[in-house]
């Protein structure tokens, strides 16, 4: 018997509502354990395509208001019994609701599992949308779906151009090697290098676009650092005040990172406030420190908070030492008080300095400008071809790597068979990017990166 699976079906981002999909023989029973309809009737009495309004309950505690929509097998996306719970769209509310559903008897859906079940239950004759697998290959998310169009358009053409230029070179090299007696002119080192460099720079550009594009789509991973009482929560609150949708703040019991998603003028910041960043013997705190360090490592942006009213301390210095090489904005708080901080002591690798006053609610606009400037988001050309997802990005990175290898081989004086092999591998990576060739890795990759809710 199949297990009952659950996952968040909407994109992992701030939105008006989020949908959690539960599918499998126990889907309705599972949801009855954690959803209380206002009408008092359990979901199990509802027929297909009927909805109930009510509350998601964590034991006796209400967590969120929600609507539960019941689908009866086989008339559902997967062909199984399905309940879709629409709750409020904050990332942490949604995840909390999912956690409650999992505690109520569902298991997390594996990547692509809803689609897989739909297919195996004969619910998808893939003719519906050319082939569902083509859809899967583009990761199914709303954002990626827009990218399908991009794929047929600008991006596809750009990749094709790079690919064609490399294929042409490889073809020439192969002909030259395979027909040594046919007077085929050798490929000139100069023109070969030129083709490779042109291909490389096109890919570089695509990858840069992708990085800024990702920040826009899924938010900027932002870490706030600062010594205790410097005003991190003030900053949090200040930022939170600017956004429209519900935001919750969950202080984990086992971790020392507070997370929150906020929007400032359309910029999504995935904020993490790292508490303990100091040396400690306490194992619990150590785990927190490790987590903070990891967060810091993954961050796109660091907001380093300083108290304007206090002089520069050893603790500040220690903190600053960890930030070298990160994109950092120094945020000077409490600028309404008497200035005691010597800003000249801030290191030169801090990219921007922004002054805020929580009390006077000033500086938010400056912070926004600093972020867009620092992350070059303002340079983002929405009409330029864009890699749609991580799978595509990785293919482009692989292709670029092989091109670099080919150039290396050429410049260092390796024989041209080695150059050809590297160039061909780049072509193969580009073909993978456009979905024209499949290897096991691509398939695995596609499935594991497929938005699990779709």
């Amino acid at each position: 018997m199949e297990k009952t699976i659950a996952a968040i079906a909407t994109p992992h981002a701030v939105g008006g509502i989020a949908v959690i999909r539960v599918s499998g023989p126990d889907a309705i029973a599972v949801c009855d354990r954690c959803f209380q309809a206002v009408s008092g009737r359990p979901l199990s009495v509802l027929s297909g395509y009927h909805a109930a309004y009510g509350t998601v309950m964590d034991g006796r505690d209400p967590v969120d208001e929600a609507v539960a929509l019941v689908y009866r097998a086989p008339k559902s996306y997967t062909g199984e019994d399905v309940v879709e719970i629409s709750c409020h769209g904050g990332i942490y509310i949604t995840q909390e609701v999912l956690r409650i559903i999992l505690r109520s008897g569902a298991v997390p859906a594996a990547a692509g599992e809803f689609t897989k079940r739909a297919f195996l239950n004969g619910r998808l004759s893939l003719t519906q949308a050319e082939a569902v697998m083509d859809l899967i290959a583009s990761q199914g998310q709303q954002s990626a779906r827009a990218a399908v169009t991009a794929m047929q358009g600008a991006l596809y053409r750009q990749i094709s151009d790079v690919k064609d230029s490399l294929v042409a070179v490889c073809g020439h090299l192969s002909a030259w090697a395979d027909y040594p007696e046919e007077e085929i002119p050798a490929v000139g080192q100069e023109s070969l290098l030129q083709t490779l460099s042109a291909a490389e720079s096109t890919l570089e550009k695509l990858l840069r676009q992708f990085d800024s594009g990702r920040l826009v789509r899924s938010g900027i991973r932002t870490v706030i650092v600062g010594k205790p009482n410097v005003g991190k929560s003030t900053l949090m609150n200040l930022l939170s005040g600017c956004q429209k949708s519900i935001v919750t703040e969950i202080a984990g019991t086992t971790r020392d990172v507070i997370e929150e998603t906020v929007q400032i003028d359309g910029l999504i910041l995935n904020l993490a406030d790292t508490a303990g960043m100091r040396e400690t013997e306490d194992p619990v705190e150590q785990a927190g420190v490790a987590l903070s360090a990891r967060k810091l490592e993954q961050a796109d942006l660091v907001l380093a908070l300083f108290d304007s009213s206090l002089p520069f301390s050893a603790e500040d210095e220690q903190l600053i030492g960890r930030l070298e090489g990160k994109k950092t904005i120094a945020v000077i708080n409490k600028t309404d008080l008497v200035q005691r901080l010597d800003e000249r002591l801030l290191p030169p690798y801090f990219d921007q300095i922004v002054r805020i006053s929580a009390k006077q609610e000033t500086g938010v606009k400056d912070l926004h400008n600093a972020i867009t400037h620092l992350l070059k988001i303002s340079d983002l050309d929405p009409n330029a071809p864009m890699l749609a997802n991580e799978r595509q990005r990785r293919a482009a990175v692989t292709a670029r790597q092989y091109i670099a290898e080919a150039k290396d081989a050429l410049v260092s004086g390796m024989t041209l068979d080695a150059v050809t092999i590297s160039a061909e591998s780049a072509v193969e990576a580009l073909l993978e990017l456009t979905g024209e060739r499949v290897t096991d890795a691509v398939v695995d990759e596609v499935f594991s990166h497929f938005c699990v809710g779709k």
Partner: protein, 635 residues
């Protein structure tokens, strides 16, 4: 009048390069093997170029030899001139090519066949294959004799319904004036085999005395000759030179003005010709802006004055052939002895074959060589060897020999033709192998001799020699990893002269050898502890060290590829029942019946989306409970 002989195991039909390898391998594996040929004088003939090897083909010959085949040894014993092509372009594309004495090669191979135990060579034309319950039971000769056999290997070359075209004239014929084979095609079609028609061609042979060699460039063989066979020892010497000439505007004008008299352009030939070996009229038409085309003038043997004109194959009328040859410098008065001609012949669609070269739908029936739609002696011999081995293994009830793309050019060739198929005669090329930095001609023995040894086609002494070689390679690599090369004025002068940076401190031998500019012999004077090693050892050491990064990466690509190859697809699977597949993919898959998802992914018309569907389907309960091969198990 039907006469049935005693029983044999295997019948090989045709004694060209495929047939000879098939018959020798089967007989050497202990099976009672028949080899039929329309003419005993046509055994192992070289009806086209008097040479063996060439780019990628040289790889095939070395692989045939490494597996225990005959072609390499025979070529080494009868060669006239040998050259390693592509030196300087990298070890992946080094290819050996040798001019061969055509008559000596035939004589030697014929004698090898005659001296082989278990092998019975017969001059007879096979016109029918007997089949019961989709299984071969015998072959029938034109005289009505039935030979009961358990397997038949079709190596018919260009004999099947052979039709020669020269200008407007055409007549039924096999190659080199042999009689064609008639009737077998129709009987194969009745067995349900899909046949098709291909075309190939050959240039004229001319008399040596009529050539003005002063107008041609001389091409000599290598000073140090690499033999084809890993068994060949002793010094080899070139015996002849070849010559190079060029066509010119006038040649092209004569050809263009007479195109209407070509059977190809006049629409008389229905067969599909090889893209990779075009006739001179094809070259002139398709590459109209090319000012000249090269031709090579090659001796046919030591005991003949016939010379072969490589690059000038044609099906234009005799008078046009004479006219355009006379426009070429050095050939102004050339006398043609044999005319160039095009030949059409029947062959099968190789997508009907398993990677063992057995027909998927007919147990015990195998195909090899031009019959499978390939072109070239080496391609034929490679398939003949694999078909012969597999026919023998099947009869002995042993596991089949399947060579995958990463193992060899032989495996690549068979995978290409059986999975992707071919729409024109298939020629091997180095660019067909995605793994060519590991499938080098220099390491064919390391890749394939262990397989040949397990099969029983490799002698004990040769096996010991290989083990010894591997030990020496490993030892020298280890030594170079340890030894410290100290900088010296002499060494630094050498390095600078080679265009690489001088040493400031000591360097490990292995790191010095990694530099593309530095060859193994180069720094011998500065590496006093170096043992004296034969070329075959130090060459391996050098290539393995210099290309280590690339080799490692190719090996990981191989591992990736093999994962999909190891997901089997049952032959009985009806793809029309898998709902997610697109219609085109369903049809292609049902026609070809790939053996694995890996194979399926290489079929044109099967998209990545279809492969995803197949992988999904394989993970479903339907696939696990799929139709088992009950028919075979119940017998």
């Amino acid at each position: 009048m039907i006469y049935e002989t005693e029983a044999y195991d295997i019948a090989v039909v045709g004694a060209g390069h495929a047939g000879c390898e098939a018959a020798l391998a089967a007989a050497r594996l202990g099976l009672r093997t028949l080899l039929f040929t329309i003419s005993l004088d046509g055994i192992a003939n070289l009806p086209c170029n008097p040479s063996i090897g060439g780019t990628a083909k040289g790889h095939l010959v070395r692989e045939i030899d490494a597996l225990g085949g005959e072609m390499g040894r025979a070529a080494d014993q009868t060669f006239l001139q040998s050259r390693m092509l592509n030196l300087g372009k990298g070890p992946a594309v080094h290819s050996l090519r040798a001019q061969i004495d055509r008559v000596q090669y035939h004589n030697l191979m014929k004698k090898n066949l005659e001296q082989q135990d278990n092998l019975f060579v017969k001059q007879a034309e096979i016109i029918d294959i007997r089949v019961e319950d989709r299984r071969v039971t015998g072959v029938v000769t034109k005289l009505g004799t039935v030979y009961p056999v358990k397997a038949a290997i079709l190596c018919c070359g260009t004999y099947l319904n052979g039709l020669i075209h020269i200008g407007g004239v055409h007549y039924e014929s096999g190659p080199d004036g042999c009689v064609p084979a008639k009737g077998l095609t129709e009987n194969l079609q009745q067995l349900g085999i899909e046949m098709r028609r291909f075309k190939t061609g050959t240039p004229s042979r001319v008399h040596k005395r009529s050539i003005d060699f002063s107008g041609l460039e001389r091409q000599q063989g290598d000073e140090e000759i690499t033999p084809f066979s890993f068994e060949t020892t002793g010094k080899l010497e070139n015996k002849v030179d070849c010559y190079i000439g060029y066509t010119n505007d006038e040649t092209h004008r004569v050809i263009r003005e007479n195109l209407d008299r070509s059977p190809l352009y006049g629409g008389l030939i229905e067969g599909v010709g090889p893209r990779y070996c075009p006739s001179i009229e094809d070259k002139v038409v398709r590459f109209a802006d090319k000012e000249r085309h090269q031709l090579f003038i090659e001796p046919m043997g030591l005991d003949t004055e016939e010379m072969y004109l490589q690059g000038m194959s044609s099906s234009l009328p005799e008078d046009v052939q004479i006219a355009f040859l006379h426009t070429i410098r050095g050939l102004e008065h050339v006398e043609i002895m044999r005319n160039a001609y095009a030949i059409e012949y029947d062959c099968c669609n190789p997508q009907q074959l398993l990677p063992t070269l057995e027909f998927k739908q007919l147990k015990g029936l195998y195909g090899a060589g031009q019959f499978n739609g390939t072109s070239g002696y080496e391609e034929a011999a490679a398939q003949g060897l694999v078909a012969g081995i597999n026919a023998a293994l099947a009869i002995m009830g042993k596991e089949p020999l399947v060579l995958d793309r990463a193992s060899s050019y032989i495996g690549t060739l068979i995978d290409d033709i059986t999975v992707k198929g071919c729409s024109d005669p298939y020629r091997m090329m180095t660019s067909r192998s995605e793994y060519r930095l590991i499938l080098r001609q220099d390491n064919a023995d390391q890749r394939l001799t262990p397989i040949g040894y397990r099969l029983g086609l490799i002698s004990e002494s040769r096996w010991r020699h290989l083990q010894d070689k591997l030990r020496q390679i490993a030892a020298e690599k280890a030594r170079l990893g340890q030894v410290n090369i100290r900088p010296s004025a002499g060494l630094n002068a050498l390095l600078e002269q080679k265009g690489t940076s001088p040493l400031t401190g000591g360097i490990k031998g292995i790191d010095l050898l990694r530099r593309p500019q530095v060859g193994y012999p180069d720094f011998a004077p500065f590496d006093p502890g170096r043992p004296v090693l034969p070329r075959e050892i130090w060459e391996q050491v050098e290539v393995e060290i210099k290309y280590e990064g690339y080799i490692r990466r190719q090996l990981s690509q191989v591992a990736e590829m093999r994962k999909l190859e190891q997901k089997p697809l049952p032959l009985e699977l009806d793809y029309a029942k898998i709902a997610g597949l697109r219609l085109e993919a369903q049809e292609k898959l049902n026609k070809i019946k790939p053996l694995s998802v890996g194979q399926a992914s290489r079929i044109s018309g099967v998209s990545p989306a279809d492969i995803s569907v197949l992988l999904l389907w394989l993970s479903s309960p339907f696939a696990r409970g799929g139709d088992p091969r009950t028919e075979d198990e119940e017998e």
